[in-house]
Amino acid sequence: MFQQIVIACFLVFGVAFTLLALGLSWLLSPTNPTEGKGLTFESGMEPLGPPWIRYRSGFFVYAVLYVVFDIETAFLYPWAIAYGKSVTNWFFFAEMLIFIAILFGGLLYAWKEKALSWH
């Protein structure tokens, strides 16, 4: 329980410190809003077109792949601990082989579907 309290304290403290420093900066800094300061930066010109640009969806595919692989990788940790404690257990080794084979299968499928290439 103590560890959770420490982590909770860190979260609260981090937010509090950020607020404090931003407040200090707010007190110390000058405020002189002019029209130009509120414009979106575009190398000194008046911004052209809508501020949200369309961007290639390739990045979205990477994000989805990341979620899949990251979760599957996190499942390897409990296995690694168990395997490290009893290396002579064939069952654990076989289990890992099956799991990584599935991961590899997913990777190869994404590769074949050209999800990993830059279009």
Binding site: F2, Q3, Q4, I5, V6, I7, A8, C9, F10, L11, F13, G14, F17, T18, A21, L22, L24, S25, W26, L28, S29, P30, T31, K37, G38, T40, F41, E42, P47, P51, W52, I53, Y55, R56, G58, F59, Y62, A63, Y66, F69, T73, A74, L76, Y77, A80, I81, Y83, G84, V87, T88, F93, M96, L97, I100, L103, F104, L107, W111, L116, W118
Partner: protein
Amino acid sequence: MNPWLVALLRALLILVVMLLNGSLAIYMVRKVLGHAHLRLGPTELGPAGIAQVIADIVKLLTKEDRHPNRSDRWLYLIAPFIVFVPSFVAFSFIPFTDKLVAANPEMSLLMMLAFLAVPPLGIFAAGWSSRSKFATIGAMRAIGGMVTYEIPLLLAAIPPVILAGSANLQAIVLAQSHSIWYILPCLPSFVIALICAQMETNQAPFDMTEADQELVAGFSTEYSAMRFGFMYLAEFAGNFTFAALIVSLFLGGWTLPGISATALGPFAVLVFVAKCYLLIFLFMMVRGTYSRYRVDHYLEVGWKRLLPFSLAWIVVFAAAVRIIAMLKGGA
């Protein structure tokens, strides 16, 4: 003593460490990059330019905080929190010595990696909510790059976990002090972790989220004053956290080879910090000497080279551990 009080004191102590690391890193990065480029870096303020740090902080605090009219207001305002707070929490799991660790849960390695996975989200939020063309491109690249290299990083930490039989950073350091530094049996993992750390901390050759020459300042283009400062404080904190992670996993943490874990006493923390800064120095030298990768190149390296290689390496490593254990058992 009241556990909440102890926890608050620890948070305060770690905050001081983090701020000290931040101010030292500002100076260090300027000097190291300066000398790597055959310049001098800061020289004017104080001996060898050391007071430049104070000038930088005062400047960040007293600048006007403007945000663009067309930004997505709330997301824009909370993005620095999403970047900074998890980096701060990740600091709590760093094992400075056997006793000096703020939070030491059973799976501290996994917890640390989990918190380190959040700042890219904040970087994406910052770039996206700015509604600026440069910031949007920087944010997209953050999702492409930082996220890609997170998976090999997670996989690179698995061989030390197998050897130590625990996902607790303290236990991994102690296990190394009883055998050897894990850089020797897990050298490929060490190299992968170094590459991924360089990417995760947004440094050249992988600084595509900022890429000053093409994207102005990438995701942080529209940020000013202290909000900008927090983005960079988190980045410097990330440098230290990743260095501490690699030192704990592969380079023996606060121990030295041939010296028993308890003999160092209070010097253990110096050993740990010295190792971390040596690694940070290495990161900065890489940053100063390598030219930037093209975005499609490093994405392909991440997905098509590092990821399959890491998976295959885990299989080979697990099999090798199994065979060695069998030979020892048979003899």
